[in-house]
């Protein structure tokens, strides 16, 4: 058995179903060995997108996404994808081919120190120096990627190690790591303290983040808040933990969130952050949230707690396990007055939004084209109940976050890194993870053009993810920034009129749909979503729209 055979065997032991990647000489032994297994391979069109696809796959399955690329330029192209996954704590194992181990360090053709390059945004990295270490390293890598605060792990394997012979292959039962032992169980004293505080609180609120998804703890969290009637808000990464119209849900907080959600946070006397960083995007002034409030911070990563503000009660552990404990504890509470207040805020806020929307769609707003808010609403309501909505980055992302209606579905986006071009490959990964679910990627025309080569991948493998392009012919969010901060002194944001997406769809044998105004949005969206053939929906909007 060769080292490459051993790698493939490790992937089988880890029940890996699919590898996203791009070959080159340094990884050919691996791609040769994988042919003799049932593991599916997907050839993306650029390595970055392999990582994004693996990320989409990981988010939907809750399992570790796997990527394999070649040395040098292949590995370098992967970097943005790894950093994006790291920022959102996505479990991933990235295998990179490397030049011959005897030549490493001498700057030979296609040599790059990839483990050095990604050091600060992987959870861990390995350089394999001996083929017999392969089983142990893979066991550890999958363990590290998927436990504690999840994240990408990189394994760099020189080509000669892939070709070396292994006398015997024994896959370890478990990763025996002397140093790495993440906390899973929450400390019971702290857990009881949280419950005690909750029983004293008059105006508590839960702020849920991406950690709830990562822990697979959605049901436990919802059960807890429903049982005790506790209001909930979320961060961008925590969208779709709660259904949008859940009676106890008050929207996304932060600069781009709902005003009534932020108001709820400000007026609360107790905030429970759950798998959410107290990060700059969601909490603009971390110091404020500890003022006159009891702050509880629940996170699997102890280093996240107290990083931006000191909580009164830190609680480290897996969210699913902690909420299971919470649910076993009974306490008396009556927050109905508080809930009434928040309901009033929410109704006012929603009424204001509806009125604004009505004005916009009846074309009293002087904007050309379709109204992006109306479009996103309509799209999300037309989507299947459990559909996956993948938002790209830019104005389109902000409109999506604030207006997309989630029922039983899933919302995902590149929250931590804000990487343009994430949506389409991530949607591919999500669709591969669960072909029975409807998956829709929504992106701007800038982000779309960063990844439109992946239409080839979608067609080749018949990956039926739907693509929506919000067409404003500019880098909208940057333009909006220049509008506010540089008084319309626009610089390098014009994208021009190309490509002609109608013709592009032709090149890929896809169907083309367009929305140019507020008439018939629903009809076009329905036809687009129902089309069994891969299709793109282009939505023309005014570049002056602000998000």
């Amino acid at each position: 058995m060769t080292g490459a055979d051993a790698i493939v065997k490790c992937l089988e032991q880890e029940h890996v179903e699919v590898v996203f990647g791009y070959p080159g000489v340094a990884i050919t032994p691996f791609y040769n060995s994988i042919l003799s297994t049932d593991i599916r391979t997907i050839l993306v069109r650029q390595e970055q997108n392999a990582a994004h696809a693996a990320s989409g796959y990981a988010r939907i399955t809750g399992r570790t996404g796997v990527v394999a690329v070649t040395s040098g330029p292949g590995a370098e192209n992967l970097i943005t994808g790894i950093a994006t996954a790291f920022a959102d704590s996505i479990p991933m194992v990235c295998i990179t081919g490397q030049v011959d181990s005897k030549l490493m360090g001498s700057d030979v053709f296609q040599e790059a120190d990839i483990s050095g390059a990604v050091e600060s945004f992987v959870k861990y990295s390995y350089i394999v120096r001996d083929a017999k270490d392969i089983p142990r390293i893979f066991k550890e890598a999958f363990h590290i990627a998927a436990t504690g605060r999840k994240g990408p792990v990189l394994i760099d394997i020189p080509i000669d190690i892939q070709e070396d012979n292994l006398n015997k292959f024994v896959y370890p039962e478990d990763a025996k790591m002397r140093t790495y032992k993440p906390t899973v169980q929450g400390h019971i004293v702290q857990i009881k303290k949280v419950i005690r505080e909750l029983s004293k609180a008059k105006r508590p609120i839960l702020c849920v983040g991406g950690g709830v998804h990562l822990s697979g703890a959605k049901d436990e969290v919802i059960a807890f808040v429903e049982k005790n009637r506790i209001p909930v808000v979320c961060t961008m990464m925590g969208l779709s933990v709660m259904p949008t119209h859940h009676p106890l849900f008050y929207g996304m907080v932060g600069n781009n969130g709902q005003a009534y959600g932020n108001r709820a946070m400000n007026q609360a006397d107790m905030i429970v952050m759950v798998g959410a960083r107290v990060a700059d995007r969601s909490i603009s002034q971390p110091d404020l949230i500890t003022e006159n409030k009891v702050l509880v911070h629940i996170d699997v990563d102890p280093a996240e707690i107290g990083k931006n503000t000191q909580p009164a009660i830190p609680l480290v552990g897996d969210i699913g396990s902690i909420f299971k404990n919470f649910n076993e504890l009974e306490y008396e509470s009556d927050y109905s007055e508080w809930v009434d207040v928040l309901n009033k805020y929410r109704t006012e806020g929603e009424n204001r939004k509806s009125a604004a929307l009505k004005m916009a769609v009846t074309n009293q707003s002087r904007m050309q084209g379709a109204d992006p808010v109306a479009f996103i609403r309509t799209l999300s309501l037309a989507m299947e109940e459990d559909a996956v909505y993948v938002a790209d980055v830019g104005q389109n992302q902000l409109w999506s976050c604030a207006n997309c209606v989630i029922r039983k579905g899933r919302f995902m986006t590149s929250g931590g890194m804000g990487t343009m071009g994430y949506a389409i490959p991530a949607a591919m990964g999500a669709k591969i993870a669960d072909p029975s679910r409807q998956v829709v990627a929504v992106c701007g025309d800038g982000g779309f053009q960063m990844v439109m080569m992946e239409l080839g991948t979608m067609r080749q493998y018949d990956i039926q993810a739907k693509v929506v392009v919000i067409r404003n012919k500019v880098l909208g969010l940057v333009r909006q920034y220049q509008h506010y901060h540089y008084h319309d002194h626009f610089s390098v944001i014009d994208l021009g009129d190309y490509p002609r997406i109608d013709r592009l769809t032709e090149a890929y044998d896809m169907h083309y749909y367009k929305v140019e105004d507020n008439q018939n949005i629903r009809k076009v969206v329905d036809a687009f979503l129902d089309d069994p053939v891969s299709s793109i929906l282009e939505v023309f909007i005014d570049p002056n729209e602000t998000a």
């Binding site: 483990s115 600060s120 350089i127 790591m177 002397r178 140093t179 790495y180 102890p302 280093a303 000191q310």
Partner: protein, 166 residues
């Protein structure tokens, strides 16, 4: 700004030192000194880092370092519970006239002369940082040609805080 001495026990994996020092540099933590060496058990390395920052930063340092996969243990070596030592080697210009004076100062500090050349002396001195600093101050009037300091190494007193390795 406070100073803290951290003792870090790490798995002796390739690149472990760069992982630790990289963490400090990218997060903008201040290192005053760092020293490292293998422990009695060759699988582990003990690193002593003197870091400075406000209380929040020092707490983050401890948490972020603990999070690194290779890190077995990190703890503060509190001054009252620990012993610190640093070694310094100092090459001082000293001709026949000055040699005796330098030797005398060195003796007071229980340092030793470890090399003699016609126009210079090399001194070795070991002690806590305060002692080394004080010695260097005493050499003020002399011309220091070269200076090498190891950074401090430290251990907790007694057997209470020992990390036993399986």
């Amino acid at each position: 700004m406070r100073k803290k001495v951290f003792q870090i026990l790490v798995d002796n994996t390739p690149g472990v030192l760069s992982r630790i020092s990289g963490l400090f540099s990218r997060r903008g933590y201040n290192i005053e000194s760092i020293s490292a060496g293998v422990t009695a058990d060759p699988r582990f390395t003990r690193i002593t880092i003197v870091a400075s920052g406000d209380d929040d930063i020092l707490e983050q340092i401890e948490k972020q370092v603990r999070k690194l996969v290779d890190v077995r243990d990190i703890r503060e070596l509190k001054p009252e519970e620990s012993v610190y030592r640093e070694l310094a080697m100092i090459k001082v210009r000293a001709d026949d006239n000055m040699r005796q004076n330098v030797i005398a100062v060195t003796n007071i500090f229980r340092g030793s002369i470890i090399d003699v050349a016609p126009d210079s002396l090399m001194i070795e001195i070991t002690g806590n940082q305060g002692k080394v600093d004080a010695f260097l101050r005493l050499l003020h009037g002399y011309e220091i040609l070269e200076l090498a300091r190891t950074g401090i190494a430290g251990l907790g007193r007694g057997t209470e805080h020992i990390v036993y390795i399986d």
